[in-house]
Every structure is written in structure tokens, then in C-alpha cells.
Amino acid sequence: MSAVMFFQDGGSPVHRLNPVTKLALALAVTTTAFAIPVFWAPLLLVLLVLVPAVVVAGVGRTYARLLPLFAAPLVISVFLLQGLFFPEGTTVLAAWGPVAVTAEGLSFAALTSLRLVAMLGAFLFLLLTTHPGALMSAMVERGLSPKTSYVVSATLQIVPAFRARARNVLRAQQARGLDTTGLRRRVRTLLPLIGPLLLGSLADLEARAVAMEARAFGAPHRRTALLALADSPAQRVARLLMAAVAVAAVVANVVGVAR
């Protein structure tokens, strides 16, 4: 992955939604998918909630490319592992020595992989349509600590610069004759890489801390936002509804419906 983030800008209605609404959707879809222990629950969530949302947002093509990239390794290994070696399988469909394909194993693999697709898909939808910075500002408006928001936002800005610096350090070390071929040498390369990288990054921390303190960064009071993010009564109702659905699914899970 060369990109730090997947965000794709666009003017669709989904992009214009308040970031918190999309976060609520991702959380509600994930919770519900994991709470209802039948395989069609995550399947329906993906097909009826996530796919339409992604299509409306106009990021369908990227989504269709990225979701398999994340999900395929997990889905393949869950089917191989639990399809062949499920410890609690009793209905044996086929067996060769220690390997036994069981109906329970296959149904467990199907449920788990669909849940994982729902979870990864829900957050991928959030990532593709929401700028992490905007999400952080929206969360700070709702009481998240500005320190936490700073950590996430600053990390996203530092990573590309840090990568460029790492490349330069590596080239400089190679110019000095450092051999970077072979496994053992690669491990040895890490140290002369980390040292200069870290020293360079730590050098300006103190100045930054002072500058931030001078702008009341550590002050415990709630701040007012310069740019208010759009929100609407409809979105508030939608968030309440999504929360209610997720809670109901969890309650159903605890009580043991649909077992």
C-alpha cells in the first residue's frame, strides 16, 4: 500500500453526510453482523446496506477492488482451516486421516467469513467516503479529547514525510556502502535506518510542544468549532435508529433468539 489513506473526494450525498453518521453506520453494521448468529444477517447487511451506500457515493469500483483485497486472504484461510479441521464438527461429509470436512465447520466458516466481510466492508465504506480529519473534527465537536484527535490527524500528515525521509536515509546508507540484499542484512539494515529517522523526528518535538501549549492545546475546556460540520434532524434520527437496531441485535444475541 503506497497510500496512507483511501479517502476519495466526491460531491455525492453520501460524502456530504456528517462523518459521525457514517461512523455510526459502520459501527452498527459491524455490531449487528456479529450479534445475529445466522449467516444471512451479515449477507443482507452487505447487500442491502453497504452496497447501495457505496454505489450512491460513486466509489463502487474502488470498493469492489479493495474489499476482496482485504477479505480474500481471510475468507480463504477460514474456509481451509475450519472447513478441514473444525474441532467441533460431528456431521462428517468426507474424511482423509486427520482431515475431515464437516457440515458444522463449513457453516461456521461461512458465518465467520461473511461477518468479516461485513466488518471490513463497513469500515472500508467509512474510509472511502470520509476524510479522517473531518471525522476527527466531528468527533471533537461531540466531546472527543482534542489530544486524541491531534494524534490521529498528525500521524496521517507525518507518515508520507516519514516515508520520504526513510527512503533518503536508506539511500544515504547505501551510498556509504551498506549492503541491503539478503535476509540477515535486511535485519541489520533496520538499525542504521531507525536511528537517524527517529533522531530527526524527535528533534522538532520540543518546539512543537511549546507552540501547541501556547495555543491552549492542553486546556481542558470545550472548544467552539470554526467550521461547523453539516448535520440535520434526519441524520440525528437515523443515528438513533441505527443505535437502536444495534442494541436490539445485541439484546437478541444475549437472550438467545435465532440460535
Binding site: 456479529f34 533496520l190 501549549e213
Partner: protein, 271 residues
């Protein structure tokens, strides 16, 4: 009122939030270990939901409690540490080594600024990666938090002064990390990892009659200590190379003599 608020409606003190988060994590782990799922859906009952929601809620409480008490100079260290986790983690993943090495920054923060900072940095690192690069790292936030917290504790008791002690600390941290992440691997991911070596180990263990959780735990006890020993040694090497002036800037490292008594630093400060 909105349906989603990030400040708890009941004002808990930061210490109470951290304690409550820790309690939630411990309770989640205990109930996941205690349940012997016997339903026809096997492990598909409440275990997956509990592992996902309990662990995540616990880590978020720990982060919110810890962040409230950390100084600005500690917080400014986090982005650099998390960037280090991300970049080195990616380099190592491309190089195909059998380790992750994606927690060097977390270990540095834990050793320099203490358990609370280490825990918050670890969890935020997983959350940042989960929000930008790979959503699959979100459920493992609690593992990263426990690694950071333990590094802080061990540093406080002087295990980061000499290399042999660092190896011991790394092995212990790896054992805990393996145990803590096992329920997530088993119940949330169905023991799938997408990594060939790990899948072979887990498949073999399950074929020999271990339950999914047992297989994930044994695999974690093999792979994690190796990873964390290497990470701690690398972090120790970096810390030793840091100028004493930088190391002594952190009150935690100064008070508890994390690096022993820095005579050079004392001389520099005195000069």
C-alpha cells in the same frame, strides 16, 4: 441530543475510566476463557460479539482515561511513534520476515513515558491503522494497549537497563500479548490470518484435537514472544543511541531511572 457522543454522559474521572476499561478487558477475557461453547453453532454464539465489543469498549475507555492525564510533550511523541509502527510494519511485511515488528514506537513510548502513555499509544496506533490502512487491525487494539502498558511497568522496575533483562521483558510481554489476542483470533477471525505459516501451525494444532481457542493461544505463545523480544531489543538499541538529553526530558524515565543513572546526562544538565 445525538445518538453518538464521545464524552461519557456520566463524568468519570480519568483514573476511573482507565480502571473501568481495564476491568472490562479483564472480564471479557475471563468470560471468553470460561465459556465452553456447546451450541450447535459452536463458537458462533456470543463469543465473537463479546470478543469484538468487550475488547474494543475496554480499549476506548483506557485511551480516554489515559489521554486526559498525559502532558502535551508526551502526546506530541505519539504521532512519531505511531508513524514508526506503520512504516516499519509495512517495510517488514514486504520483506517477508516471520515477525510483525509493528510495535517499536509503542515500546519506545512505554519505556520513555510510562504505562498509561504506552497503553494509549498502542491502542491509538491500532485505531489509526484501522481507520486508514487496514480495518482488520481494529479488533487488536487491546493487544497493542497491553503491550504498551507492560513495557511501561517493566521499564519502571528497571528491565530496560541491560540487554538480557530486555529479552526477559520482551518474552513476558509476548506471552501476555499472545494470550490476550487469542480470543480475537479464534472467535472474531475464526483463526484466519491470511498468513501461511500461522495457518499451518493452527491447522495442525486443531487437527490434533485442540479447540479453536487453544490452537490460537498456543500459536500466539509461539509467535508473539519472538516478535516482542526482537521489537524490545530494537527499541532498546534505539533508546541507547538517543542522546541522554533527549531521554532525560521525560519525567517518567528520569524519576524511575529507566536507563539507570545517566551520568552523562547529569553532567550535561550540570554543565
Amino acid at each position: 441530543m445525538t445518538a453518538l457522543r464521545f464524552a461519557p454522559p456520566i463524568r468519570l474521572s480519568p483514573g476511573a475510566r482507565t480502571a473501568l476499561g481495564t476491568a472490562v478487558v479483564v472480564l471479557t477475557y475471563a468470560s471468553l476463557i470460561a465459556t465452553r461453547p456447546t451450541s450447535p453453532h459452536g463458537v458462533g454464539g456470543s463469543a465473537a460479539l463479546l470478543a469484538l465489543v468487550g475488547y474494543l469498549a475496554g480499549s476506548l475507555l483506557i485511551v480516554s482515561g489515559a489521554m486526559a492525564r498525559l502532558s502535551t510533550s508526551t502526546v506530541t511523541l505519539f504521532p512519531v511513534a505511531i508513524t514508526l509502527n506503520i512504516v516499519i510494519g509495512q517495510v517488514v511485511r514486504i520483506s517477508g520476515l516471520p515477525v510483525h515488528l509493528d510495535s517499536i514506537g509503542t515500546v519506545l513510548v512505554g519505556a520513555l513515558a510510562g504505562p498509561a502513555a504506552g497503553a494509549a499509544c498502542g491502542a491509538l496506533s491500532s485505531i489509526t491503522v484501522g481507520m486508514t490502512i487496514n480495518p482488520g487491525s481494529l479488533p487488536y487494539a487491546v493487544t497493542a494497549a497491553s503491550v504498551g502498558a507492560l513495557v511501561g511497568l517493566f521499564a519502571r522496575f528497571g528491565l530496560f537497563r541491560r540487554a538480557p533483562a530486555v529479552v526477559v521483558a520482551g518474552a513476558l510481554i509476548g506471552v501476555v500479548a499472545g494470550m490476550v489476542s487469542a480470543p480475537t483470533t479464534a472467535f472474531v477471525f475464526g483463526n484466519a490470518s491470511g498468513q501461511l505459516g500461522q495457518s499451518v501451525v493452527i491447522g495442525t494444532l486443531q487437527a490434533y484435537g485442540n479447540s479453536m481457542l487453544e490452537a490460537a493461544t498456543i500459536n500466539g505463545l509461539i509467535a508473539d514472544p519472538l516478535d516482542k523480544v526482537v521489537v524490545c531489543l530494537l527499541a532498546y538499541a534505539v533508546l541507547s543511541a538517543l542522546p541522554a538529553r533527549l531521554r532525560q526530558r521525560f519525567p517518567f524515565a528520569r524519576e524511575h531511572g529507566v536507563f539507570g543513572r545517566d551520568r552523562r546526562a547529569a553532567a550535561e544538565v550540570g554543565a
